[in-house]
Symmetry: C2
Subunit: 107 residues, 2 copies
């Protein structure tokens, strides 16, 4: 339980892994080699990162023949949100976040 979310946070701590999640968010169900093509890194590095994401439950995989398809699982991310933002403060935080985005886009 506590170790579970430790894996999630540790997985999110690396920029390459976050980029992999971005890729899957843009288009789900990619193979490992397809993802390798998007990164300037050896396939071993990418495979290692995907393994970390999978063990954290942020990515779910399905094997088809010799290929492995990767899907994004957003539930752990929602749980991060819910840990420090409760139902009552949520609307206020959402408004603040919106405001921040607006201010930054005006520059």
């Amino acid at each position: 339980m506590t170790e579970d979310d430790d894996r999630v946070f540790k997985a999110l701590a690396d920029p390459t892994r976050r980029f992999l999640l971005d890729l899957l968010h843009a288009r789900d169900g990619r193979t490992q080699s397809e993802l390798e093509g998007e990164l300037a890194m050896s396939r071993f590095g990418v495979a290692k990162h995907l393994k970390v994401l999978e063990e954290a439950g942020l990515v779910v995989t399905r094997r088809v023949g010799r290929e492995k398809l990767h899907h994004l699982n957003p539930v752990p991310i929602r749980l991060i949100h819910d840990r420090w933002i409760d139902k009552y403060t949520e609307p206020r935080v959402a408004a603040l976040t919106e405001l921040k985005a607006q201010l930054e886009s005006e520059e």
Copy 2:
């Protein structure tokens, strides 16, 4: 911008720092020495962790005399959420998360 969120994710990667956020979520505006009392660690360790949280923007501080008061800032956490959960999928993810919590509480 990208470095900004790198600091946020790196800050969240450590269990001690997450616990400090939990403490501030339960009660805001604590001093550093008050937080030290909650942890089995030297004051230097705690101070270092608080500095990381502050530089990530997850904690905001205010100095009063010789004391330093700490407040939780939830906006960066909301931004993590919004990065991978868009408005359209949000209700579905929220429902799934709810379901997951229910199933786990039934055990």
